[in-house]
């Protein structure tokens, strides 16, 4: 029983990391209808921004976290302006967007390696929160895990509020229904797209800092974000609650497979399940076709 609960906690904690990352994929997909693989690179940059704000400028944690999130927002906007906007202007097919995004993600990874003051070695965040876990009986809950869970929940809550209750949020919803019709109704879709990238970038920054704190910072962080992309598909691309639920489920499935079957079958079972869900329900768990997407 203890082991079951401990594994459940492990799964929730891994899932909440995926969730923060998956939201960015879903946001962009809901508007632009393509998978922005550059998101992984932006998360990696977020981890580095946070690391340098904390170690080089010695900023307090909250300032560094926000600073990293704002920096990655700007980075995401720059990526959109330089890489995707020219394609949009030329009305390029979606495949081109995906290829461009992949290229961008490889570019981001390699530019970090090429920068002389960063380079390929991995780095460790300074210890901000104690590593001794909170004990409940023989259960251990990491302080950082708890913090991540709380920060993720706050961020996701704010995002839902923003999308459901503000004017820009409504405009984002409208744009995700039908980008052409919204433009005809007087919504500045270009601005909406920038907002969505900025939001995605903001989450990427927070996810990057939290990931870097929990594990390490290295140029290949993007590889982990592939898992969160899969979680987003699992939950239904374009649906925010779907991305969160998909991520948490993936985290739990992975942990339980490792814990009760065999760690070697972890990815096998998780992905067989993924394919099965997509075959039975192609739009994912919560995805809705042609309906409310954001």
């Amino acid at each position: 029983m203890t082991q079951f609960l401990q594994q459940l906690i492990n799964g929730l904690s891994i899932g909440s990391v995926y969730a923060l990352m998956a939201v960015g994929y879903s946001l962009v997909y809901s508007i632009m209808n393509f998978s922005n693989f550059a998101h992984g690179g932006v998360i990696m940059f977020g981890a580095y921004f946070g690391f340098f704000y904390l170690t080089l400028f010695r900023l307090p944690f909250t300032v560094a976290l926000l600073g990293a999130a704002i920096s990655t927002s700007i980075l995401a906007i720059i990526i959109e302006r330089t890489a995707y906007k020219p394609l949009r202007n030329r009305k390029a097919p979606f495949l081109y967007f995906i290829i461009c995004a992949m290229g961008m993600s490889i570019f981001l990874e390699n530019i970090i390696i090429a920068l002389p003051f960063i380079g390929p070695t991995f780095r460790t965040y300074p210890e901000i929160f104690s590593k001794t876990p909170i004990k409940i009986g023989s259960l251990a809950i990491g302080r950082l895990d708890l913090l991540m869970f709380i920060i993720s929940s706050i961020c996701l809550g704010l995002l839902v509020y923003f999308i459901d209750f503000t004017k820009i949020g409504k405009a984002i919803q409208a744009t995700s229904y039908n980008i052409k019709a919204s433009a005809l109704m007087g919504i500045n879709t270009d601005f909406i797209i920038i907002t969505v990238f900025a939001l995605g970038g903001f989450f990427a920054g927070i996810a990057g800092v939290l990931f870097g704190m929990k594990y390490t910072v290295y140029p290949q962080i993007g590889v982990i974000t592939n898992k969160s992309f899969i979680a987003a598909v699992f939950g239904g691309l374009g649906s925010l609650p779907g991305a969160v639920i998909g991520s948490i489920l993936l985290g739990i499935i992975e942990t339980f497979t490792s814990g009760y079957v065999s760690s070697q079958y972890r990815d096998l079972i998780a992905f067989v399940l993924l394919i099965a869900i997509l075959v039975i329900r192609p739009r994912g768990l919560m995805g809705k076709l042609n309906e409310d997407k954001a």
Partner: protein, 385 residues
């Protein structure tokens, strides 16, 4: 459009011819002996690769300042394998066919050292691997590979040392293993640890795997915790060691950890100083051995950094090569390979006497190191019975 295509083609031709003419020039100069090096300059093990290449450069400079070898200067051509076996094969091809090196030093990983054998055989250029400890690096199906050599001891030995030390000296009866399922090195150590430990009457109570690139090991560790081992064997590299040992302590696992030569690194102590306190690992040498102090100081003096484990081994690989060159009297790769088989020199990591049928240094002792107060403290030299 046509014009654009044509001009692009022309430009690419021009750049190509520029490069190729450069290559020819350097091939013509007869006053240098070109030596290849390969290893990770990027990726998880970049720290080690950079240290190896730095060491080779430093040693060559020192040798050249004293007049070189056979009256010629030594020149190193180093390429990055990114820790990727496929890239290692490409690099080996480039070094042997394009740069025409006489010998290759490195790589440090078994995963990269194993697949380059066919390239070496085709071009008849020998390779001296540094920390590639898998048996298959030099011997496959009971037959020795003619052009593969190494300066380090092998996994069976390392796994057996760890298991023997745990069972005979630390007197533990049950062990758990966490290992990387996708890595030859990790699998090799695991297999031989298991064999030796069970032969000595111990019991493996849990054996859990993970995949390279994983950062979270808590599911596996929770399972290991439930099996109540007296020691956990962690045969993989320092980054994962740091992450998994931190996570193990977080889950309330307090038992001793033991590992192999993938452990020693300054980064391990930076990341997981408290978690690995009191742990043991098998190493190629004792960092405080008087024999290595001179080299250690020279390296620190030149690069301002501590030398990593790989530096010591590539140092001895260079000694092996220079010794072989002196005995052959000419920079001919095939003759160097023959001469390497007769190597019997004293390196800073111990006596290196290459076995003809194994191409491994025979009878090299292992050092057992314990981490105490964030320092690597030498315990004893150990050979398993």
């Amino acid at each position: 459009m046509y014009k654009k295509v044509i001009s692009l083609l022309l430009i690419s031709f021009l750049t190509f011819s520029l490069f190729s003419s450069c290559n020819q020039k350097s091939a013509e100069s007869n006053n240098t002996i070109k030596v290849g090096w390969m290893g990770s300059l990027t990726g998880d093990q970049a720290v080690w690769g950079q240290c190896e290449l730095n060491t080779v450069k430093m040693l060559f400079e020192e040798i050249n300042a004293k007049g070189g070898v056979l009256g010629k200067k030594l020149e190193v051509i180093g390429y990055d394998t990114k820790g990727d076996p496929q890239e290692a094969v490409n690099v080996a091809k480039r070094l042997t066919t394009q740069d025409k090196v006489v010998t290759i030093l490195g790589p440090n990983q078994s995963g990269s050292a194993i697949p380059i054998a066919p390239v070496l055989e085709a071009s008849k250029v020998p390779d001296i691997a540094t920390v590639a400890t898998n048996p298959k690096v030099t011997v496959i199906n009971g037959k020795v590979k003619l052009y593969n050599f190494r300066v380090c001891f092998i996994d069976p030995y390392q796994g057996a040392v760890a298991a023997g030390y745990a069972a005979d000296i630390l007197k533990v009866k049950s062990a758990a293993i966490l290992y990387d399922v996708g890595d030859d090195y990790s699998q090799g150590l695991t297999q031989f640890f298991e064999e030796t430990f069970t032969k000595k009457g111990g019991k493996i109570v849990a054996k859990e795997g993970f995949k390279s690139g994983d950062v979270d090991f808590r599911p596996q560790l929770s399972k290991i915790k439930a099996s109540n081992p007296e020691i956990i064997f962690m045969p993989y590299f320092f980054k994962e060691v740091a992450l998994s040992s931190n996570q193990a302590r977080e889950l309330g696992i307090t038992v001793t950890l033991i590992g192999g030569d993938g452990w020693p690194s300054d980064q391990l102590l930076q990341m997981a100083k408290n978690a690995v306190e009191g742990s043991y690992f098998v190493n190629h040498l004792d960092f405080n051995d008087p024999e290595v102090q001179d080299f250690k100081a020279r390296y620190k003096n030149k690069y301002g950094k501590e030398v990593e484990l790989n530096g010591y081994l590539v140092h001895d690989a260079v000694l092996m090569l220079v010794d072989a060159l002196k005995r052959t009297g000419e920079p001919n790769p095939e003759k160097i390979a023959k001469a390497l088989e007769e190597t019997n020199i004293k390196g800073i990591t111990g006596t290196i006497k290459i076995g003809k049928n194994t191409h491994n240094p025979e009878g090299k002792e292992a050092a057992i190191i314990k981490i105490v107060d964030g320092k690597y403290i030498f315990q004893q030299k150990y050979t398993p019975q």
